[in-house]
């Protein structure tokens, strides 16, 4: 793999570092250069911190290469894209071969009180030992350059800065016109305490005054808590609650002041405001970065600057044009080729100390570990993700599910280990067993990625993955928890990614799975079968050997291992007795043992997995409201009476069925209410009602690609190759 620029980067920075990388990738592509990314983990974040979604989207949009784990790329320039990554815990497993290597320094070494932002004492040794290169530094601004000079790194500094860039097309020029009152002054930053001045100073630079309204996006709660009552002319918005460009368009003036101790290395937020053509009022030291593009003031004098701008339209126009022109000339994407040429060097022969890792021809292994569950839910979601990852990886199932044959029959290598419940084992004893089995499997399969799908990551699983230490790990878990699960939440820190398959009924989710929202990535609902893959009614009926013209009712009331569905079943048989034109079809996995076939002459049984493609065979359905069935039936626009399994061990199926009924997607009844079940069954016989439910379901479009979203995120985070036949995002 040959690249022009190799970015060794942490994709989880929430603010300017990720935004600058986003535009670097875009600019690199526009310059006709090939970029690749090796995702790394900076020690400044919790292991499971979610990646920056805008950056992931840019990687997708630009087709930027994610270097697979076993690949040793060759690059003209390698950039370690944040100083915190020059750390003893960070290394690139298969190495890289670059003509030149730099650390891009996005932050000064210390704050104004002299407190270190990151450790620098071993930089030279770490660059040599872990990256096989001499230490060479590229500051993002003169502010950082001077700090590095002050702290003994002059010898390592490259003469050029690695200046942040921005795409002006993302930030339309704000038209300067007459001002309304109050004048809208705004600021945005990530919600860190350092990014705001003290409350006293904040009241000076964002004063309570009838002529001004202050709009602030990204303010930490502990800052707000310092006020008994917030100033009446402050409007607070959550970080990233609005698109930055739209927020900036709503302002008349931009004003950014921060804590006394903080040093802004560059000020990407200010760059965005300047690109929008907003007059920017900022501290004096930022003149080093933005020269005459901003207006500079002390916090105490900021209001005087606002007053000048408010009363002088020509000043506003002049400052606005200067701001935009400054950004165009110094920070536009077309500057990339220039900054690249300044740092690129003549190709070198590989240095003798550089270890070349021969690439194996084998596909990387993804080990998919699923808990036992009552039904097939965990396994089904993992199969959907495995299919979405495609043939470029080798998915091996390592499951506690006794239904593991369904994975094997779909062509996957599948292993099974017994769960403690049926064996009535002491849980600690079983975890000892599972640790031993997992650890052995990890050493054997050497997976690039370990997926876990289940509500509680077992101690034996966690200890084994931790002990092995060479795999990226991700926890896939659906939401709608009925109760708080602090023991589960406490295990989040053992994973590199926590991904929650989307839930149509998220409005009723009590949020017990999202105690730490910064740890959890949400995606769309995960389906085994996409709506466009459904067979039409006639073909589905032929495939299932079902009569062409009968009224067919799909029955899926779950495994009934932990919940009694006898009342709905009895009512269903009564219903069949009274409606001779209706045939009920009970569909279960091929592994389910056949029951007596003479329960009812029009109660057919079919053994099939997965069922999704055949849902159009049915006119309506009576089902439990498990995650997969609920979302698959709605995606297929199949009119369904959902009867939730209310066992406290399951997810909150009651809320799911209830919300769907309120939204008009389905009918719902509890399993204990024969009168309601009877009423709802009768409704399903009415074509108008069925059509109404179908139409309401069919309005839910474009939201079913959760498995693909998960696959794409994992391909980036775990550095997996992409499959060529994978559908475009």
């Amino acid at each position: 793999m040959e690249l022009d620029v190799l970015y060794l980067a942490d994709l989880r920075f929430p603010g300017g570092t990720s935004t600058s990388l986003k535009y670097d990738l875009r600019a690199c592509k526009q310059a006709g250069l090939r970029a690749g990314v090796v995702p790394l983990s900076s020690p400044v974040f919790a292991r499971c911190q979610v990646p920056n979604s805008a950056l992931l989207a840019e990687i997708e949009a630009t087709g930027t290469v994610i270097v697979p784990q076993d690949e040793t790329p060759k690059a003209r320039v390698a950039l370690l894209y944040h100083p915190s990554l020059l750390d003893k815990t960070v290394h690139v497993r298969a190495g890289f071969d670059a003509d030149v290597f730099y650390v891009v320094v996005h932050q000064p070494t210390r704050d104004r009180r002299g407190r270190a932002y990151y450790r620098t004492e071993h930089w030279s040794g770490l660059a040599a030992d872990l990256f096989s290169h001499d230490l060479r530094l590229l500051p993002v601004s003169d502010v950082v350059r001077k700090d590095l000079e002050r702290h003994g790194f002059s010898h390592a500094l490259h003469p050029a800065n690695w200046t942040n860039l921005i795409d002006l097309e993302d930030f339309p020029l704000k038209q300067i016109g007459e001002l309304n009152s109050p004048v809208r002054i705004g600021r945005h930053s990530r919600p860190s305490r350092d990014k705001l001045p003290s409350p006293k100073v904040a009241l000076e630079c964002y004063p309570q005054h009838p002529d001004y309204a202050h709009l602030m996006m990204g303010v930490p709660q502990d800052f707000l808590d310092a006020f008994d009552t917030l100033p009446w002319n402050w409007q607070i918005y959550a970080f990233s609650s609005r698109p930055v460009s739209g927020f900036l368009q709503s302002l008349d003036i931009y004003s950014y002041f921060h804590s006394d101790t903080w040093v802004e290395a560059f000020g990407y937020n200010v760059l965005e405001a300047l690109a929008t053509g907003l007059p920017c009022v900022v501290p004096h030291y930022m003149e080093e970065t933005f020269s005459d593009a901003c207006l500079y003031a002390e916090p105490a004098n900021a209001q005087q600057t606002y007053d000048r701008l408010r009363s002088d339209r020509s000043l506003r126009e002049e400052v606005s044009l200067r701001a935009r022109a400054h950004v165009e000339s110094r920070f536009g994407l077309d500057q990339f080729a220039n900054k690249f040429e300044k740092i690129v060097e003549a190709p070198k022969t590989s240095s003798p100390g550089r270890v070349k890792h021969p690439r194996t021809s084998e596909r990387p292994v993804v080990l998919s570990v699923t808990s036992n569950g009552v039904g097939l839910g965990h396994l089904t979601r993992q199969l959907a993700i495995a299919e979405a990852l495609g043939p470029a990886v080798n998915v091996v199932f390592f499951s506690l599910s006794e239904a593991i044959e369904v994975a094997r029959s779909m062509g996957y290598l599948a292993e099974f280990r017994p769960f403690h419940r049926r064996l009535q084992l002491d849980v600690d004893d079983w975890n000892s067993f599972f640790f031993q089995e997992m650890r052995e499997a990890l050493s054997h399969y050497k997976p690039s990625l370990v997926l876990f799908d289940g509500n509680v990551p077992y101690a034996g699983f966690i200890d084994a993955v931790d002990s092995y230490g060479k795999s990226c790990s991700a926890w896939i878990r659906r939401g709608m928890w009925r109760t708080p699960q602090p023991d589960s939440i406490a295990r989040e820190g053992f994973f590199d990614a926590i991904i929650e398959p989307g839930e149509l009924c998220e409005a009723l989710d009590l949020g017990y799975s999202r105690v730490n929202p910064d740890n959890v990535t949400s995606v769309n609902p995960v389906l085994m079968t996409q709506p466009h893959q459904l067979l039409d009614k006639a073909a589905a009926r032929r495939a299932l050997d079902l009569p062409e013209n009968a009224t067919l009712c799909l029955v899926q009331l779950g495994a009934e291992a932990n919940f009694n569905m006898s009342v709905p079943r009895e009512l269903l048989f009564d219903f069949l007795d009274r409606h001779p034109d209706v045939i009920a079809v009970d569909v279960r996995s091929p592994l389910h043992l056949k029951e007596h076939s003479d329960i009812h002459e029009r109660f057919l049984q079919r053994r099939l997995f997965p069922l999704g493609r055949y849902l159009k065979a049915f006119d309506f359905a009576v089902c439990a409201a498990g995650y997969n069935t609920f979302h698959e039936n709605i995606a297929a626009a199949l009119p369904t009476l959902f009867i939730p399994n209310s066992n406290p061990e399951t997810d909150d199926q009651d809320s799911r069925a209830l919300h769907g009924a309120r939204a008009g997607w389905n009918l719902a009844s509890t399993a204990e209410d024969p009168y309601e079940i009877e009423t709802q069954l009768r409704k399903l016989l009415e074509p108008d009602i069925r059509q109404g439910l179908s139409l309401a379901c069919a309005r839910k479009t474009g939201c079913w690609d959760g498995a693909g979203q998960i696959a794409r995120q994992l391909q980036i985070q775990a550095r997996l190759p992409r499959s060529s036949q994978e559908p475009a995002p």
């Binding site: 084998e362 596909r363 292994v365 080798n394 091996v396 006794e402 239904a403 593991i404 044959e405 094997r408 029959s409 062509g411 290598l413 599948a414 292993e415 099974f416 017994p418 049926r422 064996l423 009535q424 084992l425 002491d426 004893d429 079983w430 000892s432 067993f433 031993q436 089995e437 052995e440 054997h444 399969y445 050497k446 091929p590 592994l591 389910h592 043992l593």
Partner: protein, 151 residues
Amino acid sequence: MMRQLQNIGLRFALRGLRILGVTDKEDALLLSQLRKRGSVALIWALDETEDHLSAGLSDKLAKLSGFETVVVVCPPRLFSVLRSQGHFFETLPAPEDIGRSGISSNWELYLRRRIARIRKNWGPDFEAVEGPEPELYFDAILNGPENSGLR
């Protein structure tokens, strides 16, 4: 000891086991304390090809019905029926699945260790085989030079 059991009759052997408590199940991680006090039979039935139990396996299960715990190592499509009969089960990746996977790590070591762990984790008093012995079943992988790519 286990091979001798086959010759002297299961019922007699079972009675003897209960009296003598000859098998040390201290390391049998998959047995509860209650099951450790009972007898355990382990059946290797790796080459079952049908969706239902073969006559041979059914026969073995019937003969071993006196054991408190019966564990069958078999293809996973038989799990449901074994569960319905109250048995426990394990599985090993089938040779054709291993070959199809293209994973060429040290299968010989992995399978040998896995087979040993199944024995250790269940601590069987008696072992039976329906079809080939596990080592023979995986012979192509464990010993065959033609599959050296899988070793």
